[in-house]
Subunit: 331 residues, 4 copies
């Protein structure tokens, strides 16, 4: 079978190789990968990671073989792989980092992947593999942020920063949950797209640099219940100011990792919580899929590239012109 | 001002009297009641309670005067009264029973009511007093059952028994929260109404006496996540059987109080929870109102009676032909 | 190796057989079992189960071999097996019943057992295998009841019914957690033992048949925060009456399964929760072990039988004269 | 009656004045204050606040009169006042800041105080007013940090930074709850005192500047479950590093407010929560008092000053030589 390998030279170092087709051992399944999708994390890994790693955390396909002692799935099932191989349910634990697909272990940019049976989850009914491949990292991060901490109630307000993959899924999931959504962007065109997807309030942060005031104005001075903080440098103090007394700031991600320093102590007198959100467990993934099905949500896909042109998919993501997920079709 | 008083003779004993208009003390407000609504509890209280009590827990109106040290509300605000006078937020406590409107203390079937400021809540924006008067008991019970225990997630399944006030609000709130709804009734006509309101699966329990099988069939054999158990005699074993492993049965109400005995021990091997739900707190009421507003929910009102004909409203409720709330217009 | 097998004839049908020593596959470990312990469940299984099953859920020993892809444990580790093979962490699910040791799958009454690596847990530091063998069913049930539902706070009150295995562990764990403990028994001698273990209030229910009154008296009329309901026929209405407004009744077990019917509806007006507790997950087991270690708890062992005399251990349990766990020494 | 007033000149500006004795209105009680205690907050308020304010949040005394409609307490009850007048139970809300004793409203450094009945709580049985006066701010902050967020389990590990009032109560409460305690200080003498109070591990951060390593070493490399972060400048990154995957950093207070900036993003990949803790509600206070009673905890009192010498009590606190609370005796 064929698989792309990172070799240390960034996107240009991606090599498509013929490698032996892996076979599932006890407790494992083999997948014929039908689609993958990209996240910013994949760009950063491509830049930083040397060695010899099959990239991409996100992928979906069909089970073609099962090893001994597998009861969860059967041959022919359409499944997505989980971001963390070993976070099945419950409390997160340090060792999950040891098996993060496309990072610390091989990922999905291959024709065939062998996965532990506890690390795959049936795709939502009626979803194609291309659609399901968008879910493992960005969508599950949004779900975890909204539903696994303070837990969003209908009628509460969610603040989304920017229109990246996590924010778009956050918008769709929050609206499905009966919440109000405020979203920011520097592009009126993107904000228009967000309104079409259901956003209640949009804020152009170029036009309104004090966008936290706009959030307070839109919430009767109270602030958002939950903020998905994916913003990058300098947004956190504004996010805290835009969050209600007792509310939660879900800290997400790679972009924000470069955000530099901030004073977290306004959290104290506002009784707020800041929660680190790092993708999620298989159980969360299954719960999310039920929500996607029940609410007929469709993922926003920006563009689909054929398998052979995976490096171009990376380059397209780099351009930041997309809105929605960039998908690679392996079929 | 005028107020109806229960005098011990059931519905026929309701007396409309001229009484002194009450004045708010420190920490209190006066309301001009614009509408009230009825619950089965009110029928039972009318039958059982002697003495001299103004009935009805549910009412809404306009603040006409405030006493000293009131900051929560202002003259002119449209508010609903809470079922329990003293359950503001947090853990319930035994003494809430000492002040349950229309039961242990005077209720809302009056032209003017004085209420502690901590026992009123602004009505949802855009709602009339007639609409808001439907909320304090039935709607808040449904909200508490769905959102304050196991807490419903989008994509989960709610089972509603019958089409009474709690079930109809349960249906509307569960759909707003992105859940699937299964509802039972003995009337195909009522089930048709429920489908129009968004019910995903309807079960006529006369046609399907083993309705718990229908619930399992509609959930891939898994069962409902949360059941609003308002059913009356004999439904509880079926409700438990229709609930998923680890799910919750919200025990509600007066009707079920007559249900007789059951064996609760299937809960053990199914890791299920049965939670007694008794209306809710003011904070829950405010949260619910935000959800009603954000999701443009409108209460289902069966019929509105003028204030003078309040006894006829009681009689109409007795007939059980209604679907939706029975309201009394005080204006 | 040798193992006892249930053959359908009750305790007398226990057969000690020479069988092939099992080998661990991928993801599995082999244990040399050093000790097991008995629960009432084992008596009931012996009476009811035909076929050919190695009994007992509870056992501890030393890892003697590990299969491929095992990182959790190493050869030489002292571990206990979990009651449910597949409940690692998080939400319980129906399929856990499919692999309940000593019930739906083979148990621990053997010299060597092969177990999935995710179904064993290190024993508390300094504990012998005989001590650790007391934990998997009774102790974990008590932990789950106290710490995984409403969750006990220091200063709260726990009510324990009788002095069986779950109650004794419940007493030790509740005292370690800073709670007050009320315990009932028909034996003043057993109550004296419980006071020595830290019980704050003891109630002889023969002397005080209205023991719920004694609980209310000992709590200023408020009632217990959590009740471990293991009582058998007729205790549940009293347990509910002895529980505080908003409190939790943890429903436990086999004995109570025969309890017959009760009216659960007092739960409603008291805003109480009744939660089915069925042992627990491996994560709970590890958390409990940390608590046992930090608080220097020692299990109460009634008597230790040699492996060859396992049937006598069963008979001793039948006599109900014990207080503390009945252990079988496999070494 | 007499009361001290801040007049804008810092500690030296404290004036003892004769003022009219206040009378309780409806819903209020009058207290004869028997003792108060000091917190760092009081030093900062003395330095910063102008105007004319009676200082100190913490005080306890005896109810001498009750107004109309008061059922919670009676004349003769010994009670403590709550830090926030209006946070009774449940979700915190922005307006609690409007009535923070000794800050936004008058405090307890007076002979008589009138308080809303919902803002006092019975002292633990057997506690003197001097002892109870230590609780409202520091002890309740520690309780909230330990029990109201992630909620401490027996066997878990708590990290305490320094030996200030919150840390000492944190130590006592954590030990009562069956947890392990690690505590830091620059003074071996103070660490010795902490060991005498039950600390399991002590770390002199002068001798071990990389004290987060000592915490990891003492927890098998895992880290603490909960950190009470009161440390001041520069401790937060070390606190995060010393906290387990999925653990919680409770952000507390005034000292840390000057801490400057930090990078919160290690929280993300460690799935940690940082929670702002700002004292707590009356319900938490009552829960804590039950824990103090049940576990026979006694507050550590450094020194007691007579009422007339209140300014000296302030000066003593400034010296930072104390360990335990500084109390003022009003009797």
């Amino acid at each position: 079978m064929r698989a792309f390998h990172l070799t240390g030279g960034g996107i240009d170092g991606l090599e498509l190789r013929d490698v032996p087709t892996p076979e599932p051992g006890a407790g494992q399944v083999a997948l014929r990968v039908e689609a993958t999708s990209l996240n910013y994390r994949d760009l950063m890994i491509a830049r930083r990671l040397g060695g010899d790693r099959i990239p991409l955390s996100d992928g979906a396909g069909v089970v073609t073989a099962v090893g001994d002692r597998v009861s969860e799935v059967s041959v022919g099932d359409r499944v997505a792989a989980t971001f963390f191989v070993d976070w099945v349910d419950g409390t997160p634990f340090a060792a999950v980092h040891d098996k993060a697909r496309g990072g610390t272990v091989d990922g999905m940019l291959a024709e065939v992947v062998v996965a532990d049976a506890h690390s795959v989850v049936p795709v939502p009914a009626g979803w194609s593999s291309a659609q399901a491949a968008t879910l493992p990292c960005a969508a599950l991060t949004a779900w975890n942020a909204l539903m696994e901490g303070r837990r969003l109630l209908p009628g509460q307000t969610v603040l989304l920063l920017g229109t990246g993959g996590v924010s778009v899924f956050g918008l769709q999931l929050a609206k499905a949950a009966g919440a109000r959504v405020i979203i920011t962007s520097s592009s009126d065109e993107k904000l228009e797209r967000m309104r079409a997807l259901g956003a209640d309030v949009t804020v152009n942060y170029t036009a309104e640099p004090d966008w936290e005031r706009a959030v307070l104005d839109a919430t009767g001075g109270v602030g958002a219940d939950i903020v998905l903080e994916v913003g990058g440098a300098g947004t956190l103090p504004k996010s805290i100011a835009a969050t209600r007394f007792g509310g939660e700031i879900a800290l997400i991600g790679i972009l924000t990792g470069a955000a530099g320093e901030t004073n977290p102590f306004p959290l104290v007198t506002r009784c707020q919580t800041m929660r680190g959100v790092y993708v999620g467990s298989r159980r969360m993934f299954a719960d999310m899929n039920a929500a996607l099905e029940a609410n007929a949500i469709e993922p926003l896909i920006d563009r689909v590239f054929p398998f052979d042109q995976a490096p171009d998919a990376y380059r397209h993501l780099t351009s930041q012109q997309h809105i929605g997920k960039v998908v690679i079709d392996h079929t």
